[in-house]
Structure formats: C-alpha cells, structure tokens
Amino acid sequence: MTSAAEASTSPIAISIEKKLEMYRMMLDARLFEEKAHKLFFEGLVKGTSHLALGQEAVAAGFAAAMREDDLTFCTYRGHTHTLLRGAPMDRLMAELLGRSTGICGGKGGSMHLTDVTVGAMGSYAIVGAHLPIAAGAAWAAQARGTDQVAVAFFGDGATNIGAFHEALNLAAVWNLPVVFVCENNLYMEYTPIGAVTAVPHPAADRAAAYGLEGVILDGNDIEAVYTIAMRALEHARSGNGPVLIEAKTYRHGGHSRADPGKYRPDEEVEAWLQRDPIPAFRSRLEASGVATATLDQIEAASDAAVEAATEAARNAPYPDPTTLETEVWADGGSAWRN
C-alpha cells in the first residue's frame, strides 16, 4: 500500500464524463452561492451565511470522488458540500430563506444544512466540533463493516482548537477510515491565520504529531483535488487509517454576511481571483478539445437549476409557529417534561 503522499504524485486517469460532471458541480456550487449572496442583500436569507465562493473545487473534487454512501461532515461554510453530495437544491435554497420546505424545515438555516439521506451528516457551526464526530462515524462504519469513509471539511482556523487535535489522535490511534480536509483560505474570520498559528501550514505541519503525513494540495485545481481525494479515500477505505489533507484556497468574498473582507490586501485578493478554479478548469477542458458549446450548455443548465430552486424557495411558506414546539424529543414534541 502506498502512502497518501506518494500516491498523490502519481496521476490518475479522469474520464471526460467525470470531468464534465465536476465542471457541472463547480458551476452549481458557484451559481448557488452567488444567488445566496444576492438574496442576502435582498433581506431574504434569514440569519447569516458563509459563502464558499472561490473554494468550490474542494467540495466538488471530493464529492465527485466519494462513494454514494460515504459520510460528509462540514462547517457553517457548508452549502456547497451539502449540495454536491446530492441534497436537493430547491430544499437547500428554501432552508437559507427559512421556509418550511427547507431541508431542515426552516429551523436551522444556512449554518445547519443537513441531509443524512445523501450522507451530508451536518454542517457544524461550532468550530472543530465535527472532527471527533467524524472519527466516531468512521469507527461506526468500521465496526459495522460498511466500508464507508467519513470525510470532514474544516477551515485553517479550526486547527487551533482542541477538538482538532483530539480527533486526529483518536483517528490515528484507532486507525479509522476518516479523511480530514483542511480548506486553508488563509483567514480565520478576519485574522490572518499566520498571525495566530505556530507553524506555516496549519494542518499539514501538525500531521507528524499524529504519525500522519502532511499532504498539501492546490485546492483551486479540481483535478488535483479529485486525484488526492481518490487516493485518500482508497487509503482510508482499505484500512490504512486516517489521512490529513491541507488544500490551499481562498474565499472570494468576506467571512460572512455583509463582510466586505477589507482586512485583506488588494494584491492578495487580485492574485487569488486570477486563480479562480472555474475559469482555470474551463480553459483546460477547452484545450483538451471539449466544445465551448458543451460547457456553455452545462453553465446554462446550472443557471436554470439555481433559478428554479430560488423561485420555488421564494414562493414557499414560512414555518408554522407551532413547529417551534416540535422535534425536541423522540415523541416529536417539546413538552415532555412540563
């Protein structure tokens, strides 16, 4: 068995169908997020929202590589992870708008998207909380002999909280089928990650402490993401234990809501906009002979899907106030004790 790092150097063949699927996934993610941004400014998104604009290649590359029954654990920046595992777009959009048709009945909103039917095991808004949880799910998969792998996505900032270190040690010492994916977008909220972290690569440089290899990846190169994802999933699925990956990427917008992200130097933002994962992949596809019309068609289909989802969400009703009193206990209610 090759190590994750060695394996990552050997390219794997990606079929053209797969590539087009990944292109479609990135566009779905991009257009969904752009729409969410617009709806926020219309006052329609309830609560807050953290967009993954610019980071789509990580979610798409992994979702494309994962087996249907694999388990995704993500953060409040989790729209795209949940969507690309196959959660229905209209119900995700409805959830952002706090409607009763939302994937969580309009109770959870942007930060808590969950659809266990497609393996989207939850968006966790407490930084780091989901990392030991993913390890536990991986243990369950192993104990039940299902061959599932749990994949946990988190930010660079999460590498400084205790739960991250507890999870890595648990996963390593128990040899669990779990892949930890750090999306290093250089900022923990408004603070540059380098200002609050002892090592330059917040995830990869910690790997050695748990007997793992530090895998660093260009998170804006979807083919690289897909390749590493395939290798890591295979590694974990075959009983070789956890993998820790650090994907370098960048969010195009601010941390949340209306944050304009002014704390970031203009040149830095500009340089990363140049490295937008979507046009980069599109040029590569065109260079490899895919017709522009094919790509345009994919884009138009994504656009239509997002518009339809938005229309449905806009017209959906808000939850009935009585739903506040439901689903706290196994009996379906909230009044068991009083």
């Binding site: 309830k46 609560g47 807050t48 706090g98 309009g106 109770k107 959870g108 909103g109 930060m111 808590h112 808004a125 407490i126 930084v127 780091g128 900032g157 999460a158 400084n160 909280i161 205790g162 739960a163 923990m188 909220e189 408004y190 603070t191 200002a195 609050v196 972290t197 704390y263 808000y318 939850p319 106030p321 739903t323 506040l324 009193e325 706290v328 909230s334 009044a335 004790r337 009083n338």
Partner: protein
C-alpha cells in the same frame, strides 16, 4: 457626559480599564478588527497588541490563559464571540475559574471578566442566539451580571474588571445599538450586587434583566395606557441575585411576573419565583407568572419573535394575575 449606545459604552469602559497596565483584553478578532460586534474597536491601535490580544479560535485556551494571567497578577478581560461558543471553555470556567478561591483556601483568586454577547438578535439560531445564563448562575464562585442600559454597561464592566472574583459579563446583542443614553466620561462603577427598581407601581411587579428589559419597559407603558400601574425591576446581577427590591415591591403590589428569554425549565425565573414566595407569600394575591422562551432550540430569525417573549405575552400574564 457623552451620548453612547451600549456597544460604545462598553468600548469606552474597556478603554478606561486599559489605563491600568494590569488589564489585558483577549479574544478572537478583538484586536485588528475590534471584535465581531466592534466592541473593542480601536483599542489595539491605542493600547498595543500586547494589551489587546488577537487569539486563535480556541475558547478553552482563551479562558484558560486568562485564568492563568489572573492568578499571576493581571486582570484579564476575555471575550467569547457568542454564548454558544462559551461551551468549549466551560470546563475551564466551571472546574477552575469558579473554584480557585475556594480550592486554594483563599490564597488565589481569579480577578477576571469573561464577556459574552448573548440572546437572540442576529437571527442566526442556536449558538448565535441563545441565552443560557442559568448554567453559569448555577455555578458557585461565578458572578453573573447583565446590563440593559449604556450607563450600567460601562459602570458594571468597570466594576467587573475591578472585582476580586471572576465575573461572567453578559452583553445583550439586541440592545448593543438599540438604546442610547448619557454616559459619564472617565471612571465610575455600578455595584454588581444590586437590582434596580426602574419603574414604581402599585398593581404588579415585573422582573426582568438584560435584553428583555426593553420589552419589560414597554410593558410598563402599555399597562399604564390601560390604567394598570406596574413596577419593574432590572435585576442586573443574576448571581448573586438581589431580590430585595423585588420583595419590597411585591409586598405593595401583591402580583409578580418574571420575564426571561431563556427556556422555561430550570430557568432563573424558577429560582426567583421560589425566593419571592419564601419571602413574600402572604403578600401575594395571585400565583407568580413566568413569561419565558420555550423549551426548545432558538430558531432562525423568521420564527425568533415567536420564541422571544413579547410585550403582548407579558401583558397577558399580567392580566392573568389581575384576574386571579
């Protein structure tokens, strides 16, 4: 005197407190950006990065380090971004911060403040909107305080910094920019163990604190319009509870309605009701009413107004006590 909202009053309090070289402020994004609610805006520029410290996302580390600073001679003020993020630090707070005076037989104290914005307001459900003060008020060794006006915000924060014991300082998110008032410049302190009678009346006594004081004050007005004379007490300190003004008022009114947005079961209202009936049972003319949040998870903005007690719900409770 300067007209300030609560966020500005707190900013001013921190600025004044930082004149003492033993005071430090630490938390996520508190320095460069001035914190999620901009309460520490400009303070790092003024007092330096060694006094206003940007930390990693690591609440247990923030509170643990603040505690270490406190037992070793500093007066740290730790900021937690939202109440729901205080739980990673819960072990430090409950197992160590709260107990060190007793455990060390008085040799150590932890003169520190943990500032926590709490309650509904940004509409983001769960962690960003909850009101779980009871778990801290239930812990011996912690003072838990919550202002509802700019004047109290500044004076109580300065008192908290000066206090020899750890203080959980709750900041009502909904009121940060919603109420303005005249705030003295420079240093002053507001006692951390006195509730305040904010309206006097003869028919019913309303008891509230923090963000709910806006609804409580509006209820007093709404009741006045229908000829009901309501007294209102702003508790300000949840641990220790000062119920003297409540009891004194209930002895006049014979009726009491306690308001909080925290869930009902095990909420502080239960404690308040028990204490008031212990001390004033024979003055009561009606069962004491509680108007609280529901025993459920705080929902998203659209449903928030169904969760947080409204003036209408408080008025209805008052009517029940009048009709009893």
């Amino acid at each position: 005197m300067t007209e300030r909202n609560i966020a500005q009053a707190l900013n001013d309090a921190l600025d004044v407190a930082l004149a003492d070289p033993s005071v430090v402020l630490l938390g996520e994004d508190v320095g460069r950006t001035g914190g999620v609610f901009r309460v520490s805006d400009g303070l790092q520029q003024r007092h330096g990065a060694a006094r206003v410290i940007d930390t990693p996302v690591a609440e247990s580390g923030i509170v643990g380090a603040a505690f270490g600073m406190a037992v070793a001679g500093l007066r740290p003020v730790a900021e937690i971004q939202f109440m729901g993020f205080s739980y990673p630090a819960y072990d430090q707070i409950v197992s160590h911060v709260a107990r060190i005076r007793n455990r060390s037989r008085h040799r150590f104290t932890a003169p520190m403040v943990i500032r926590i914005p709490y309650g509904a307001g940004i509409g983001a459900a769960e962690h960003h909107s909850e009101s779980t003060e009871t778990i801290y008020a239930h812990t011996p060794g912690l003072k838990v305080v919550v202002p509802s006006t700019p004047y109290d915000a500044k004076g109580m924060l300065l008192a908290a910094v000066a206090d020899p014991d750890p203080v959980i300082f709750l900041e009502p998110i909904r009121l940060y920019r919603a109420v303005k008032g005249e705030v003295p410049d420079g240093h002053y302190a507001v006692s951390l163990d006195e509730a305040e009678l904010v309206a006097d009346g003869t028919d019913v006594t309303l008891v509230g604190y923090g963000a709910m004081m806006r609804e409580v004050r509006r209820t007093v007005e709404a009741l006045a319009a229908e000829g009901v004379s309501a007294a209102a007490v702003d508790l300000r300190t949840l641990a220790p509870l000062d119920l003297d003004p409540v009891v004194a008022s209930v002895e006049r009114t014979g009726r009491c309605v306690v308001v909080h947005e925290a869930p009902r079961t095990g909420g502080l209202a239960g404690e308040i009701v028990a204490s008031v009936q212990e001390r004033a049972l024979y003055s009561l003319r009606a069962p004491i009413e509680r108007v609280t949040g529901w025993d459920t998870v705080v929902p998203l903005r659209r449903s928030e107004h169904h969760y947080v007690p409204t003036v209408e719900r408080i008025v209805a409770a008052v009517h029940r006590t009048l009709e009893a």
